[in-house]
Structure formats: structure tokens, C-alpha cells
Amino acid sequence: MSEIVYFDHAATTPVRPEVRDAMSPFLSSEAYGNPSSGHRAGREAQAALDRARSRIADALGCAAGHVIFTSGGTEADNLAVLGTALRAHLEGRAFRAIVARTEHKAILDAAGAVERLGGEAVLLDVDRTGQIAMDAYRDALARGAAVASVMWVNNETGVTHDVVGLAELARDAGVPFHTDAVQAVGKVPSDLGGTAIALASISGHKLGAPKGIGALIMRVPDLIEPLIHGGGQQGGVRPGTENVAGAVGLGEAVALAVAERPAAMERVRDLKHLLAAELTAAVPGLEITDAADGAPHILHVTIPEIDGSALLTHLDQAGIACSTGSACASGRVGPSHVLVAMGTANDWNGSALRLSLAPTTTRADVDALLRRMPDVIDRVRVLTAALRGET
């Protein structure tokens, strides 16, 4: 099989060599202390942790004390939605979470948990461009809520939201604002300084750190009821002995990604535009989803009249790594909840493709993709037509 052309960086990225180097002392007998220990090994670990926090804080424009390490983006999202809702409930405030219908499942399912626990989830509709209905948003804020959560960059379509503006509206209504910034950090300007964003989730493995590390940036104190309980680490918001190596890796990855962002993402956006233009020319019927050209690293397209399960199969056989539609647990490749919410998936007989790039993506990668992709789509279309024919 041919070498893999990797266009799935929004799913995960390889660990960067600089990140691996930064982490390696903490994965060896060199530095293995528990940050909570009072001896020298512990103090060294604590210092590494503090340094990681500072680097993240500097990169994102917040204070080091705002950085709560988690196991990843999903846990950060759960803390932000479920944690705030539970705290509000315990304090007799509105047991309600406002979230957009196009959020990541980590947010939507956490909001679902709020509902199952007796609270309320307010789901905000979006228009065909993926933007939330502002009237509904204002109405929801006026009713009060424990949190309003709108992602910075949609992980599937790359649609960006004006989270700075949305956060101000929320603050003015007295509702803490959270954003899932997993696909934003290092991709779009994501300085929290001076914004009304109270909470933000980030994830390591989307930007060159390993899987299993992320953080919740908590710029407003006392908003969150912990979801797990333990030894009091991280102010009790997220106890448990810290993943020191992971935290160090996250600090390195975030610092690098944010510093490199302006030049790297300009190049990535150029490659994306090239890819979009060439694919549109080569594949009849292919449509680019995000007309507003939000995030630089995600190209989301839809292809009509094509069997998603066969497309996924043939892409892999051709050595192309990307994401199609939304494969449910049983493998049905249907329209994702994001496309359904955007109303672009009516009478759906096609498939969506998310091609996501990284600073490591080269022109040669794009060329390799363009050499293989049209043939794959052609072949699967012929197969689809044969399989869908009357019998």
C-alpha cells in the first residue's frame, strides 16, 4: 500500500520532537517526583508544572493560576458545562446550560447530563453558515444560566464563532461564558487577555503534544463544582497527582504553536485554498462547506450521491487519512449532527469529508492528495450508482 497522506490533523497530530524532548526527563529516572511531595524530587516536579502553567498562560493571555490540567479536551469541556451547572444548582442559581447544536459531543453530552440530573439544556440553533441565532442566544442569556458555551472553531467544518463578542453578551447578562478552544489554539488568534471569556478548553494532541493531556483555563474563580474528588491538587477543582510529563509537553506545544501561528497558519491557509480550488475543479458536485473560510486548517467539503462507507474504505485503501461525515458506532456514515443542525443535510445521499492540515503539511502532501482523491471519488461514485440501482 502506498504511503499515507495524512490530512486528519484535526483528529490528532504526531507528537512534535521538541515536545518529546521537553517531556523526556519526566518519563525517566531523571525527574519522577510527585509535585505534592515536600522533598527535592517533588519540588522539581512542582517547578516543572509551574513552568508549564506559565508558558500556557503567556501564550493564551491568562494567569498561570488559571490553568487547570485535565486528561484532555473532553474532561475540560465536562468540567466547564457540568461542573458549572452543578455548582449553580448547589447554590440555588439557574441549573441550566446554554450550548450550540454544533458543539463537540463532549459539550452536547455534558449538557445532556445536566438535563438528566434535573437541569435544563438550552440548545441554540444555527443557520446554514453554522452561526448561532443571536436572538435565541440573547433570550437564553436573559433567562439566566450556569454557563453559555460556544466553540471557538468548529472541529468538523472549521466555522469560527465570534466568541469574544458572544462572551461580552454573556458577561453583561451575568452568565459565565465558556469556549471549547481545542481547534483554535495555534490556529486562529486566541488571546484571552481582555476578553470576557471565563472558561476555555484546550487539548494537547491536536497541537503536537501527546494524547491524555489538556487543560481548562479558568479565569473566574469558584465557578466549578469538581467532578472528581481527591487529594486537593489544583485547588480541588481537578484533584489527582498531576500528569507532569503531559503538562510539560502541553506547555511546550502550546507555546510553540502560538508563537509560530502567524507565519505557519498563513502558509496552511494558502495550502488549504489551493486544495479547495483544485478539488472543486477535479470533482464535479463537490461543495466547500465553510463559505466564510473560518479556520485555516480545516477544509470541509460535501460530495453528493456517494456512499460514505465505501468512500471511507476506498480512501483508506488509497492511503488517504481524513475524516468522512460522522460514522456512528455501527458504521453508518450519515450526516453529522453538525450538518443536520446547519440544515445542509436534507435528503442526504452523499458524504462529507474533512481534510485538516497542520504546519507540517507540505505542497507535496497536497499534490499527493490531489493525485489520488479524484480517482477514489470517481470509483466510489460508480460503485454507489451500481449499488443504488433498482433491482
Binding site: G308, G331, L383, A386
Partner: protein, 353 residues
């Protein structure tokens, strides 16, 4: 040097897992595929052969064998050609076998189309059957033999079929799986129709038919002579040879002899009346040059039934095939298959009408 590329239908059960493993060992270039055939909604309880867990199991086995695994969505066609036909047949008072149509259309036509698009020369399954030089023979494990379900396959497809476990017994299959540490080695047998939860086929009919469909509404239970001895709540709930759900109080046990949908009637009688020696097949398909009038063969009229010697008595222009059984068979049931054999070789078959 690869022996060729093969798409293996992996249900997530032990049989198809071992089929895939054997083909890898034999030097084929294997691609695993799990067919998604119907909605795995939350309403369908976890089932041994068709659940999300099964897809995970198939993927895990493929990963262990170092071969790719994909899920292919064949739901629309499966519904149209297998489930809809299943429902329509019961509505006509017959007792269908959806597995036959699944093999004919879903596995050995639609999956084959996928295989060809993937440049696979072969499609493989975990059937207990042997395919040799374009011919199909019974599996070595007679208790598990599944050739009965394969008579409808297009003849030209057989040379592209691989059924490696046909040479094994079930215990050998399990041993093979255990030897490789496959997660599916000790999975329970699936004995039911995959889209019928808990064997409750009437529930599937109730889902697909109107509540007032004649097949699901009351009608008489009568004898051959017309004596009404009770009523039933829908003839689709009955099959020829059935004893359950019939009124008691007769001097001898009663069996369903036939179903008369025009009268919504279930006709019953004694066991002796269940035997017959004439079989007519429709939708006939041959895997060898067609038999002619006067030719001898064996016919099997139910899964696991003993094959009975028979002679072709007529080949109607309508494509029907009439056979006379040389010894009487019990409960010849419209909708079931008549699979035609000579010794161990499957020659063809048709639907009993």
C-alpha cells in the same frame, strides 16, 4: 507472493473470524469488512451477531491479523431485498428464509460489487460449506453445514467464493480461534435471524405491516373438511408443521397443514396428513447445468432436514421445477427452500410453492 486479494465478510462471530485468519495464513491478501445491514438502534438489544459490539470484535480480530477492516453500509438494499421480502412472504401465508436472499443478493452480489471495486478477486465468508473449482459441497461438519442457504447464488460467482472453514468442524474452528487468541473464540452461537430480536418474528411483522393487515388479524382454524375448531390472531403467526397456538381437546395432536390467506384460514390435521411427496420449486437457480426430467437427485426441504431422494418430473416453462420424492417428507412448507443435491454437491434449488 499473494494468492490473490479477498474481501472477507466478518460478522464479528467466531466462524468468519477464523475464515479471515485461515486466509491470511494461506497467503491471501485479506481485507475484512463488516456489513451493516439494519439499524442498530437502541431498541434492539445486544445480539451475538449483529450488534455494535460485533463490529468492534470484527475490527479487533482484523487488527490482530494485521489486515484492514471496514464497515460497509448495505442497509438500504438489505431492507428492500431481504426484510421487505420476509414481511411480504409472511403476509402471503408463507414461511420465508431471509438468509437465502441475504446470501444471494447481499453477500454474493452487493458485497461482491464492493469486492470488485476494491480489486478483490474473491469474497470469503464463514459458511460451513466447501467451494472447489466453482462447485459447492457440504461442509465437513454435517451438523453445521450451511449449503442449504446458498442455492440462490449466481453460478458465475461460485469460483470467486472462498469458504475456508468448510473443512473444519465447529470445535476445530473454536480451537483455531483460541490458538490465535481471537476475542471471538468463545462467543455464543447465533442461531436466530439477525434482524429478528429474540426470535420474535411476529414483532418484526407488526412493525412493518398495518395493524389491520389480514396476516395479523383473526381468522378461523379449520380442518381439511371445513370444520372450524377455533380462531387465531393472524395466520402469519403460524407455519406448516406447527403445534403451538392450536386449540386442544382433539383426540390426536393437531398440526398446521397449510395456510389459506384468501380465507385467512389456518388448516389443521393429524401428523399423518403432514407428509407429502410432491414438491414444486419457483425462483429456481442452478449451480450446475440444469437437471432434466427424469434426473435423480436429493432434495432438502428445511435447514437441518434429512435430504430425501427425488426425481424431476416436470420443468415448466414458467421456470418452476416439479419433483417427486421417492419417500414422503414431513411439513413441506411454502416459502422454505428446496435445495437440490447430488451426494455432497449442491446443484441448485428454489423456493417451495
Amino acid at each position: 507472493m499473494s494468492k490473490g486479494r479477498v474481501l472477507v465478510a466478518m460478522s464479528g462471530g467466531v466462524d468468519s473470524s477464523v475464515a479471515a485468519a485461515m486466509l491470511v495464513e494461506q497467503g491471501y491478501d485479506v481485507i475484512g469488512a463488516t456489513m451493516r445491514l439494519f439499524c442498530y438502534g437502541e431498541t434492539v438489544p445486544d445480539r451475538p451477531c449483529c450488534s455494535v459490539d460485533s463490529i468492534t470484535d470484527a475490527a479487533s480480530v482484523a487488527a490482530n491479523l494485521g489486515v484492514p477492516h471496514y464497515v460497509l453500509d448495505l442497509e438500504d438494499r438489505f431492507k428492500r431485498e431481504v426484510i421487505d421480502d420476509f414481511v411480504a412472504e409472511y403476509a402471503r401465508g408463507r414461511t420465508p428464509i431471509p438468509c437465502v436472499r441475504c446470501n444471494t443478493f447481499t453477500k454474493f452480489r452487493d458485497l461482491l460489487a464492493h469486492a470488485r471495486a476494491l480489486e478483490c478477486e474473491f469474497v470469503a465468508t464463514g459458511h460451513y460449506a466447501r467451494t472447489v473449482d466453482g462447485r459447492i459441497f457440504r461442509g465437513v461438519d454435517r451438523g453445521k453445514d450451511q449449503t442449504y442457504f446458498l442455492w440462490g447464488i449466481d453460478r458465475s460467482v461460485v469460483e470467486h467464493m472462498l469458504t475456508p472453514i468448510g473443512t473444519l468442524t465447529k470445535p476445530e474452528t473454536r480451537d483455531y480461534a483460541r490458538g490465535l487468541g481471537l476475542v471471538t473464540a468463545d462467543k455464543p452461537e447465533s442461531v436466530e435471524i439477525c434482524f429478528v430480536p429474540d426470535g420474535d418474528y411476529a414483532a418484526v411483522l407488526e412493525q412493518h405491516l398495518e395493524p389491520d393487515d389480514p396476516a395479523l388479524t383473526a381468522g378461523p382454524i379449520r380442518t381439511e373438511t371445513g370444520t372450524v375448531i377455533g380462531s387465531h390472531d393472524g395466520y402469519a403467526r403460524y407455519t406448516v408443521g406447527q403445534r403451538r397456538r392450536l386449540p386442544g381437546g382433539s383426540p390426536e395432536p393437531l398440526y398446521v397443514l397449510r395456510i389459506v390467506p384468501e380465507e385467512r384460514a389456518v388448516v389443521v390435521g393429524g401428523e399423518a396428513e403432514l407428509f407429502g411427496n410432491q414438491v414444486t420449486l419457483e425462483e429456481v437457480n442452478w449451480l450446475v447445468p440444469p437437471l432434466q426430467v427424469g434426473d435423480q437427485c436429493d432434495i432438502q426441504i428445511r435447514y437441518r432436514a434429512r435430504p430425501v431422494p427425488a426425481q424431476v418430473t416436470d420443468r415448466a416453462a414458467t421456470g418452476r421445477l416439479h419433483l417427486e420424492l421417492l419417500e414422503p417428507a414431513k411439513a413441506i412448507t411454502p416459502g422454505q427452500s428446496g435445495a437440490v443435491y447430488r451426494d455432497d454437491q449442491l446443484l441448485g434449488g428454489g423456493v417451495i410453492c
